[in-house]
Amino acid sequence: MAGNSQEYIAHHLTNLTFGKLPEGYVRQDHDGNETVLTESTWTMAHNGQEAADMGFMAFHVDSLGWSLAMGILFCWLFRKVAKSATSDQPGKLQNFVESVVGFVDGTVKETFHGRNPLVAPLALTIFVWVFLMNSLKWLPVDLVPSIAHAMGLEYFKIVPTADPNGTLGLSLGVFLLIIYYSIKVKGIGGFTKELTLTPFNHPIAIPFNLFLEVLGLLTKPLSLALRLFGNMYAGEVVFILIALLPFYIQWGLNVPWAIFHILVIPLQAFIFMVLTIVYLSQAHEDH
């Protein structure tokens, strides 16, 4: 564990970053020795400053790795059931998977009134994947980072949805689908008309309408991503703060907070799913 609490928190909130450091960059190792890079290099960041200096050309290896792992877990589990799906008496696992699928399908049918074979699988993927990524938060905050530390990895932050990149990646996908289906269903003309002539159907109001509609459009993915990120990040910070307390009162706060997350984790996954369905439903509505 790092020395003082501030370092500890900062340490736990830094991702394992692999990225490109520019030419001439001055690196500092633990002992304070400085080395100057002779050319731009792709490397693992040794501290938060380096990670920040890498700019956009960097990957959060931990976020990506864990989200891929959770996504593959989802695909593997559901594919396993799908392959052996029987219309006779289902087994326990099939029963469970079917209840999830039925739940998502019901929500989609209630909310989405167009006809689109993509929406329901999309909603299922979002719900289960986000749920799995969120549920990594139930692991004790120090467990995985200390294992990673033992393996020589300085930073490790396992919850991909507590990383704004992770949630923005998802909502960007949703955003692209919104744009795609808006244009596909309404046509470019219809979509443009929607952007420029609502809510005030008058040529004079076009700039105002455009501003309003584009703002509304851009708010969708942003709010989607930031809501999930905010909830998960805040929860994570609280877990880290609790971990700073003396060990004999940790469980007294940790346990209720973890129990509270039984509500928060599925709820956030559900909200992300429902809002995605609603946004896509709006994209399909022709005025």
């Binding site: 970053t17 959060h60 996504g71 695909c75 799908a82 074979p117 990646g169």
Partner: protein
């Protein structure tokens, strides 16, 4: 909190997972679910139909049972009637036969009596002749006194 290529990585992973789910996960599971729903609906229908059929069959069985009972009763009644008839007929025949036999026997007895009477008459006349001869001490010519004898015989 650095924004970087992780977004793109996440976006690509998202696209792949959604594609995988849409292609390989969703269709088999939902089709299995729909198939089961259909099976259950069919099963319930069949159960309803079977119940109705059972009711009908029970009704039919009950009515058949009732009918056959009636028929059986009728047959028994007829049989009884017929039996009585036969018994009566037999009684009548027996009675007639008995009467006939009795009559025949009576006739025969009468005949026998007559015959005996006849024979006795004959014997009496002979005895009379023999007796007369004994009394007279000589033989009586039976033929000579035939008319007397005959008269005697008649009187007996």
């Amino acid at each position: 909190m650095n924004m970087n290529l992780t977004i793109l990585g996440q976006l690509i992973a998202f696209a792949i997972f959604v594609w995988f789910c849409m292609k390989y996960v969703w269709p088999p599971i939902t089709s299995a679910m729909q198939e089961r729903e259909k099976k259950i609906a069919d099963g319930l229908d069949a159960a309803n139909r079977a119940e109705r059929d059972l009711e009908l069959a029970q009704e039919k069985a009950a009515s058949q049972l009732r009918e056959s009972k009636e028929k059986a009763a009728e047959i028994i009644e007829q049989a009884n009637k017929r039996a009585n008839q036969i018994v009566d007929e037999a009684k009548d025949t027996a009675r007639a036969e008995g009467d006939r036999i009795v009559a025949a026997a009576q006739a025969e007895v009468e005949q026998e009596v007559n015959r005996a009477k006849e024979a006795l008459r004959k014997q009496v006349s002979e005895l009379a002749v023999v007796g007369a001869a004994k009394i007279l001490g000589k033989s009586v010519d039976a033929s000579a006194h035939a008319d007397v004898l005959n008269q005697l015989t008649e009187e007996l």
